[in-house]
């Protein structure tokens, strides 16, 4: 999926480059002198390609998981470029306002210019397409029709910028996620990057609107894929889970049939029968607990970030693979430190990551001697106070130059594997602002590490 996002970023970057070059071309031709001035005062060369793929990727926030915010960043950046262009020469700005906005027609994103009264002064072709209006129908209409409360938020902020250098500061551009309205009244999720422009005496708001529907779909696709791999992982465990269910059923059936015989005895041993009934109740609860765990794991829910005990998550997963370990003759030992701080995360997705790592560890030792088949799972704190789960196997390990490759999608060593487990696990961990990586052990086998930041209350409040 990363590849897809990257490709989209590439395409957009290319289009923005073309568009900005086009925008600058008339200025170059008509006013070479002022351009030279501009070049002196503006830190970047306006004629050179403005947006490189590298700069798009650099715009990403620290975490890689923030792929969804790329376009917001791009639109915000575009708005800032626009401001910078208009401010190069404030004296003449009013004069080429219409020229400058004419170039908006070629912008690859929907752009609208709104005057102080909230009327649409200009909308480009992309905007007409996005909001499904006919050509020129938008001019003079209220911006509220398209983007509710557009002005209320941009105008309430005092405009702090006076100089070109300051124009590059982020504060001038407000980026928001809102629901925009098409002509037929249907709503869609949109990102709006809006900024106030000052030209001569006038003030207007320029807003770039990006349809977010696709990105929501992308996110949904990702969750769908995570769900699918979860189901298929559980499918691999089906045999051992059946065993897990079979055990309490066996105990229940035998207990009932023993009781049927006991009640025919004379004298009737009531104490024994009472004991049997208690066991039957316990085993029924156990069976339904197994089913509950399976259902919880394959449940298709929206992501739910809550306060979690990593130790509990690990314990749950160990329960799930308990029988599988026995069937495969793997000795699984678990070492969970006491009093670990909580993390913020989605329980099912983190379970999925740990389950995946454990099953991989079991698979890695398929060809080992029975005595060598040992998997150890640790949960504890690392030196920086982050939560760390380590899954260690004693298999063959992987050549050092291939260790990173196994996190790529569709890379697998298993005949039946899709090769998505580790790449999805990594994207889940990164979405939790954590890290997932693997190392060869010094003696034998590999260790996979999951590191997650501890729960912090202020941050949780901010994010929710």
């Amino acid at each position: 999926m990363n590849i897809a996002i990257f490709a989209v970023a590439n395409a957009v970057a290319a289009r923005v480059n073309r568009f900005v070059a086009l925008l600058l071309a008339p200025a170059l031709a008509s006013r070479p002198a002022s351009l030279l001035d501009a070049q002196r005062s503006i830190p970047w060369n306006g004629a050179a390609p403005l947006l490189h793929v590298s700069s798009v990727t650099e715009l990403k926030p620290r975490s890689r998981a923030g792929g969804a915010s790329h376009a917001v960043q791009r639109a915000g950046w575009l708005a800032r470029v626009w401001q910078a262009l208009l401010r190069r020469d404030p004296a003449t700005a009013a004069l080429d306002m219409s020229d400058a906005f004419a170039a908006l027609e070629y912008a690859p994103v929907a752009a609208i210019v709104v005057d102080r009264q909230g009327r649409i002064a200009r909308a480009n072709a992309q905007a007409e397409r996005l909001f499904q209006y006919r050509h020129c129908d938008l001019a003079g209409a209220s911006a509220e029709l398209l983007v509710p409360h557009l002005l209320s938020t941009t105008h309430e902020r005092p405009h702090p910028l006076r100089t070109v250098a300051q124009a590059c500061e982020q504060a001038a551009v407000r980026t928001r996620e809102i629901r925009a309205k098409r002509r037929d009244g249907s709503e869609f999720p949109a990102e709006v990057a809006a900024s106030k422009l000052r030209y001569g005496d006038g003030v207007a708001t320029l807003a770039f609107v990006t349809d977010r529907t696709e990105r929501y779909e992308l996110k949904r696709d990702r969750e769908e894929l995570a769900h699918l791999t979860r189901v298929s992982t559980l499918g691999e465990l089906a045999g051992s889970l059946a065993h897990e269910l079979n055990q309490p059923l066996t105990a229940i059936l035998s207990n009932v049939q023993a009781a049927q015989r006991f009640i025919d005895l004379d004298p009737l041993d009531l104490a024994e029968v009472r004991e049997i009934l208690k066991d039957i109740v316990d085993d029924s609860c156990r069976a339904s607990e197994v089913i509950r765990r399976i259902r919880a794991f394959v449940k298709k829910d929206d992501l739910e970030l809550v306060r979690l005990d990593v130790g509990d998550v690990l314990r749950d997963v160990v329960q799930l693979v308990h029988s599988d370990a026995i069937v495969r003759g793997v000795h699984l030992s678990v070492d969970i430190d006491d009093d670990l701080p909580a993390v913020r995360g989605d329980k099912i997705q983190l379970q999925q990551v740990l389950l995946n790592l454990l099953i991989n560890a079991f698979d890695a030792m398929r060809d080992c001697d029975a005595l060598e088949r040992v998997v150890t799972a640790f949960a504890g704190l690392d030196r920086d106070g982050n939560l760390r789960v380590a899954i260690r196997d004693r298999g063959e390990g992987i050549a050092p130059d291939r260790v990173e490759r196994i996190f790529k999608p569709f890379v697998t060593s298993k005949a039946q594997g899709l090769g998505l487990g580790l790449s999805i696990s990594r994207s889940i961990v990164e979405m939790h602002r954590g890290r997932l990586w693997a190392e060869n052990n010094t003696d034998k086998g590999m260790t996979f590490y999951v590191v997650l930041p501890p729960w912090s209350a202020p941050e949780a409040a901010r994010q929710s």
Partner: protein, 236 residues
């Protein structure tokens, strides 16, 4: 399930307890172990439960002169979950004598495993959850096999101790006689006279407690075969 009347049940229980058969239940899950033990006891057998295959093995594996016998010498069998964490059911089966047949229980009947177990002498292979009628029938069969194995084992013990009472000379005479040699030929081969051979032969018949040559041949054959098996076992 067809239920027996209470009178029959009680009679059945007494009858079985008296014959002293023991059923060993080996399952790593306490609740299953307890339930199976109860069911088996309710049918009148003595039941003894273990949570690990090795623990069970350490307890029941007889050694020395009693090798091949059950711990208390009376018929016994094992009801075993094929998936034990410490020792697989098939591995355990290799360690147990024929007098301790195994009724395997398995969560999911894997054909290869079933065939392997049955070829290696498993009494039965049942899937969990198991119905009492099926389990008890399998246990009955297994105990019958155990009783058979014990009987022939005892017979062999008896024959061997008779054989051991023979002097070296008497053994030589017996070997040649059962090969079909006449007294005259035996005497010639051993460098003695026919009369002496006749006396030796009479003592062999007496000590081996047989009354005809045919019987002696059969007994000698059994002893020889048991010795061969024992030698092979020692080589392993």
């Amino acid at each position: 399930m067809e239920r027996a009347g209470s009178g029959t049940t009680i009679m059945m229980i007494n009858e079985r307890s008296e014959c002293g058969a023991t059923v060993y239940v080996v399952d790593d899950e306490a609740s299953v172990r307890r339930a199976l033990t109860r069911l088996i006891q309710s049918a009148g057998y003595r039941a003894d439960a273990y949570g690990a295959a090795r623990e069970f093995l350490a307890q029941v594996r007889p050694c020395g002169p009693d090798a091949g016998l059950t711990p208390d010498g009376s018929p016994a069998c094992v009801v075993l979950d094929v998936q034990m964490p410490d020792l697989s059911g098939l591995e355990l089966q290799r360690e147990l004598p024929a007098s301790l047949p195994i009724v395997f229980l398995t969560g999911h009947g894997d054909i290869a495993m079933t065939v392997g177990a049955l070829k290696a002498g498993a009494a039965d292979f049942l899937t969990k959850p198991v119905r009492d009628a099926d389990l008890l029938r399998a246990i009955d069969d297994a105990l019958a096999r155990s009783a058979d194995a014990l009987r022939s084992l005892r017979e062999l013990h008896e024959l061997r101790s008779r054989f051991e009472r023979l002097t070296p000379r008497e053994r030589e005479v017996m070997d040649l006689v059962v090969m079909g040699r006449l007294n005259k030929q035996v005497a010639c081969e051993l460098g003695t006279v026919e009369k002496t051979v006749k006396a030796h032969r009479a003592r062999v018949m007496q000590k081996m407690e047989v009354s005809s040559l045919a019987e002696l041949v059969r007994v000698a054959d059994k002893v020889a075969r048991a010795a061969a098996v024992r030698n092979q076992a020692q080589h392993d």
